[in-house]
Amino acid sequence: MTRAARAYAGGAAESTALVLKEGLSLWGGIDVDTGCIIDQSHPDVGTCVAGTVLVMPAGRGSSSSSAVLAEVVRRGTGPAAIVLGRADPILTVGAIVAASLYGIACPIVVCGIDGLTTGLRLRVTAHDDATADVTIIEEGEAR
């Protein structure tokens, strides 16, 4: 099950999906030491984004979220990839800066996110021509 997407930051990753109902501002929204959500007003407060394929409708909030994304990618407490319903310039910048500085990719792609649920295993691949694929890996499928 593969859906077509647009790539905004390059790379490929495969991990478990964490689907947030609402957009998350990384600045003030996550603890950079742990990657866990600390925004008390967010419905998924307490959940950790570290190592997941983070799926959310859109980014939100402060422009300092670019720096926070770059910082959590550097520390290894950030998501493995981000799938958004709508393009987000702030997160895109954070991922590109992290890739350039540290050589660690956190691909960011945009596609319809209906049907993506927490716990699914997802493979996100951003191609050089700005297209991307988001694939749901079925249990037992060869990886």
Partner: protein, 421 residues
Amino acid sequence: MSAAEPGIELTAFDQALLRGDQGEGASFAMRILVAFARALGAPGLLDISGAHIDGCLYHGQASLDFVERLVAGGGRVRVPTTLNVGAVDLIHPELVRLREPERSPAQRLMTAHQALGCEPSFTCAPYQTRFRPTFGQQIAWGESNAIVFANSVIGARTNRYGDFIDLCCAMTGRAPAWGLHLDEPRRGEVLFRLSGSATTAYAGDTLFTAVGLIIGWQAGDRVPVIDGLPTPATEDPLKALGAAAATTGSVGLFHAVGITPEAPTLEAALRGQPPVATIEITADDVREALRHLTTVSEGTPITAVCLGTPHFSRAEWDRLIALLATAGQPRVPIYVNTGRATLEVLETDGRLPQLDVPLIVVTDTCTYLTPILERLDGAVMTNSGKWAYYAPGNIGVQVAFGSLDDCVASAVAGRVVRIAG
């Protein structure tokens, strides 16, 4: 890389920068700028002739690595570029009680920006310096209060830029041809009508701050137009209004009918179209908004007064010095954040040494961002909506908001005092 940027048109200059013709630093900055512009959906880039960088406040190692990468790549800013506040007062270093391991990288971040050719202005009010832009000038500014001031009060043109991107614009002299750089997105959309009751009941600074809070809460991402605002004697009340609006919301531009340059009339502010919504602001709304800025009751003892958020202007210094001359001896210290350039003028004029009061001048940073205040155990009085909003969370103080007159009277009384009217 350019082949992989569908949907965005790049000039020969843009492509040359991307290729690295102007060095690795410029190429790195252009790669990030193009990706950002693409995510916005901008059709291309346009020239800018000034920038203001909000990257001097340390958020972590990545902030420093980014700037040092540009320095290592031989980067230089291509347009006159000012710097926002950092976490350290480089002129009065003893004032900031920031300890290691945070202090060194915070200070390095400030000096690394200077290595790129940025001006060491270290102020959140670059519009008070000789780098103030002019009407219609295309610029790329960070710092929310500076952005709203430049767009609204001056009529210069910038989007709300932030971490990394403001510097990428400065390093390339380019910005996405999108948003508030263009004509149509500057059209006023939400009309706020100030009732006579509000302007009668509240005068001066506090009215402007309250209106700022309200439009920030209610305008969303639409451009607000304010009708019925009294014409202020200086631009400082508009500074307070914009700073408050950018604190409670994401306002990057407001129009005040008969006051700001793109709003000579209501029709001009709305560009001849009807508003998408009209919201009345009454005296009750103003009172309710201001209630959010005070966590203690009248008469509560205070440990300090904090002024100058955004940085105190020369006109504000004139008012303060005049007030202090007749107010009596303050019992608590008065901290004033101000720009280096403003302080230089005060010192040249020889006006500060004449004051025999506990006045602590802070430059390069701000009292709500970094450990400066001697005492955090009591309430602090401020005339800044932005300070009152952020300080309880940032530095853990109780806070009371009032006009500049209220603040001076409270400093003398040693407790929260509000002068009627």
